[in-house]
């Protein structure tokens, strides 16, 4: 189309022709469609950030090896209309049939709007936000319960510490972060009742300077194992390694950053979900709208043990992984918060229970405040 024909009608015609063509090829032969499924993946940061984005990029690389699947990727896409335009560009210019939007803030309004505008394209977003009553049927959510990985980290850390003080550098006091901190503490307390977790919030997802200061401050306060929940754990892990303390990772593998002190880390395994989507589309099946799980469904894993893990820690953490695979609960109630001593978790909850998604407290055993 030349730029002279710049009208809504021409635009709609092209779009209609394109979607009709796509629909035809879908209806005509499932195999033909499967053979040229294009998956568009949108990242909010750099793909090699040693963190959230890298975890997705590792899965994208695995997806590329699936025959008949083409992957197009775009990094550093902000949570503004830029992400809507990127998704649209992937659909219009690359022919993407499945969009994976990996950053939290992409969902409302951008993924929802695009799903309404392009009903033939499937959209999946990496956070548990899809609402079956409100949101388009061609949109959906996928999510990993990373707190299970942090629980295993906690078990390993609890037996690798000598000071019984563990440090946690966290971004914002939101539900998923709080669950990771609480799970880390519960894991540590399970094997070492004397252990406590000290937390420092930096206030934002990516604040390298403050993250380094926080890690250093925790070491000064006597913590000898440091972990974190920030977008890119690189700075925290490197700082801790430099200060000579042990570390647990977050999001992706940080093992190469800490050859001396790395214990293990909580990692997403998005590959399981992405390959599942590709297989469903290849088989002509409707994609699930909601996919979530943890270690029990191979959506979360732990980084192989590093030099910082003691033999006892390795044994206990391996057992903890087996427990989680058997769906043994992490949150065994009643549990109290760390501020008022009030019971906030009244009973034992299943690991994927939605009640835990609403967490807005730190449990007893964590030193720190969310306000």
């Amino acid at each position: 189309m030349s730029s002279a024909e710049f009208s809504r009608r021409a635009f709609l015609q092209t779009t209609a022709a394109g979607t009709a063509g796509l629909a035809l090829s879908m209806a005509g032969a499932t195999r033909a469609f499967a053979a040229d499924l294009t998956v568009g993946i949108v990242y909010v940061g750099a793909r090699d950030d040693f963190g959230w984005n890298q975890a997705h990029a590792v899965a994208a690389a695995a997806l590329k090896l699936v025959p008949g699947v083409k992957v197009v990727e775009e990094e550093n896409v902000p949570e503004t209309d830029a992400c809507a335009k990127t998704m649209e560009s992937m659909i219009n210019l690359d022919g993407a049939g499945l969009i994976l939007a990996t950053s939290f803030g992409y969902y409302t309004p951008f993924v929802v709007d695009m799903a309404k505008k392009y009903p033939k394209v499937e959209f999946r977003h990496a956070a548990p936000l899809w609402n079956k009553d409100k949101d388009p049927i061609n949109a959906g959510s996928y999510f990993g319960y990373l707190n299970q990985g942090h629980y295993v980290d906690g078990v390993a850390a609890g037996l690798s510490t000598t000071s019984n003080k563990l440090g946690f550098v966290a971004a914002k006091p939101i539900a998923s972060v709080l669950s990771n901190i609480n799970s880390f503490m519960l894991g540590a307390r399970k094997v070492n009742p004397k252990a406590s977790v000290q937390v420092i919030f930096t206030g934002d997802w990516s604040m390298p300077v403050r993250e380094a200061e926080a890690a250093s401050a925790l070491v000064d306060a006597g913590c000898d194992v440091i972990t974190c929940h920030v977008d890119s754990p690189k700075v925290v892990i490197e700082t801790a390694e430099k200060r000579g303390v042990k570390t647990c990772g977050h999001n992706a593998s940080q093992a190469p950053l800490a050859p001396k002190g790395f214990i293990t880390g909580a990692e997403y395994k998005w590959e399981t979900i992405y390959k599942g989507y590709a297989a469903d589309l290849a088989a002509g099946k409707k994609l699930p709208n909601f996919t979530a799980g943890g270690i029990e469904s191979d959506m979360v894993q732990n980084t192989p043990f590093g030099a910082g893990a003691t033999p006892a820690a390795i044994t206990a953490a391996t057992a903890a992984i087996a427990d989680l695979k058997a769906k043994k609960p992490i949150y065994v109630g009643p549990l109290k918060d760390n501020k008022t001593g009030k019971v906030v978790i009244d009973k034992t909850y299943d690991n994927l229970d939605p009640f835990l998604d609403q967490m807005n407290y730190l449990l007893e055993g964590v030193v720190g405040s969310i306000t």
């Binding site: 189309m1 730029s3 024909e5 710049f6 009208s7 809504r8 021409a10 635009f11 092209t14 750099a46 197009v72 990727e73 775009e74 990094e75 550093n76 896409v77 902000p78 949570e79 503004t80 209309d81 830029a82 335009k85 990127t86 649209e88 560009s89 992937m90 219009n92 210019l93 690359d94 939290f104 803030g105 409302t108 309004p109 956070a127 914002k172 939101i174 539900a175 998923s176 206030g203 934002d204 998604d357 609403q358 807005n360």
Partner: protein
């Protein structure tokens, strides 16, 4: 203001001394003016070409085809109806934030605080709209939002202007620092008392709702912010070149002490220009909230205010030229995604190109007045 105005007749010497580049030479005929003005087209065009050549060398050095690159920029940014609308939409906030740099630049101030005014303006618009949603109709709510955004943005940058005039505080530093304070204020409220409790994972204000959103320009996929930006560029061009206010502002920018000596209200001029600038950025914030996000949150600080600095400098702080430059940048950013996807180049590639354009264009500033072809009668038409 090429011929001077009667009201400011005494100032004609000063005016001539500080004549901005776009003003045609006084008293010359059309052909001479055309020749003189063509310098301002030819040199930037040459600079863009040089930047493109340098970038081609860069691409060849990393083993990629410059021809593919041009093809993808065209296809991703301009070549299809979708791409071009994508470009226009991306240029909309840049037009407004570039104006926020261009206007103070005319009075000799380098203000780089558009980001803060955008964030606070957008936040204020959302904050005032949220309690009005439900009982006040959109027709009432929207003007209130616009006004709030413009006033809050204006006051924010106005502070930097006032500090400059009254206390001699460097406006570049103060406007930049005010940006960080502005973002912190927004975060404070959005994460605190104004937080939407139903959204536990991304601190935001409550949504303003679809009925209160600004729509698209009919027949396009581009929101109204673009049209408003273009109209505002034209209006501000006239304000700065065809009115007494603009003339006085430029005199002040050219020679502060001369302006004082002439009795111009320098303080008012400086604060006004700063407030106009902040108003433009606040308006950009309004459109980010009312046309795109539907609520205020940390995504407002997306860096438009900082890209606007680049756009304004490349446009030589001319409000009219801001529009095409913003579209050029919008197109580069819009096509950046396609380039990443097809050529497997990192996201930073487009930044390399932007940087090259910036450096080459700034260097080309030294070429002005060096070519006889643009100055047919030296000494007579250029005072």
């Amino acid at each position: 203001m090429s011929t001077g105005s009667p009201a400011a007749g005494d100032l004609s010497d000063v005016a001539a001394a500080v004549k901005p580049p776009t003003a045609p030479a006084a008293g010359s005929d059309f052909a001479l003016r055309l020749r003189a003005n063509s310098e301002y087209v030819a040199i930037p065009a040459f600079a863009l070409l040089m930047a493109a050549l340098l970038f081609a060398v860069f691409l060849l050095a990393i083993g990629k085809s410059p021809i593919d690159f041009v093809d993808y920029v065209w296809r991703g940014g301009f070549g299809t109806a979708f791409s071009f609308q994508n470009t226009l939409q991306r240029s909309s906030p840049l037009i407004l934030t570039a104006l926020a740099v261009a206007i103070p630049a005319r009075i000799g101030l380098i203000m780089i605080g558009a980001e803060g005014a955008l964030v606070l303006g957008g936040f204020a618009a959302a904050a005032i709209a949220v309690p009005m949603v439900g009982f006040a109709p959109p027709i009432v709510t929207m003007p209130v939002m616009v006004l709030t955004a413009v006033v809050v943005g204006g006051v924010w940058v106005g502070i930097a202007g006032y500090l400059r005039y009254a206390r001699g505080v460097n406006e570049t530093i103060s406007s930049l620092l005010l940006t960080y304070i502005g973002i912190a204020i927004m975060n404070f409220f959005v994460e605190g008392m104004m937080r939407d409790a139903s959204n536990p994972n991304k601190p935001s204000t409550k949504p303003i709702g679809d009925a209160y959103m600004v729509g698209k320009i009919p027949g396009t996929d581009v929101h109204w912010g673009f049209a408003v930006g273009v109209l505002l560029s034209i209006a501000l061009y006239f304000l700065m070149t065809r009115t007494t206010f603009g003339f006085a502002a430029r005199v002040t920018g050219g020679n502060f002490r001369a302006a004082l000596a002439q009795g111009l209200p320098v303080g008012k001029l400086i604060v006004s220009c700063a407030m106009i600038a902040g108003g433009c950025a606040g308006l950009a914030g309004f459109f980010e909230v009312a046309a795109i996000q539907g609520r205020a949150n940390a995504s407002l600080a997306a860096g438009y205010g900082f890209t606007g600095i680049l756009v304004s400098f490349l446009a030589r702080h001319n409000p009219l030229v801001v529009v095409p430059i913003a579209i050029l940048f919008g197109g580069l950013v819009a096509s950046g995604g396609l380039i990443q996807r097809r050529m497997e180049l990192p996201d930073a590639t487009v930044l390399v190109l932007q940087g090259l354009i910036f450096v080459v264009l700034l260097t080309s500033e030294t070429l002005y007045g060096r070519f006889a072809i643009f100055n047919p009668k030296k000494g007579t038409d250029r005072t």
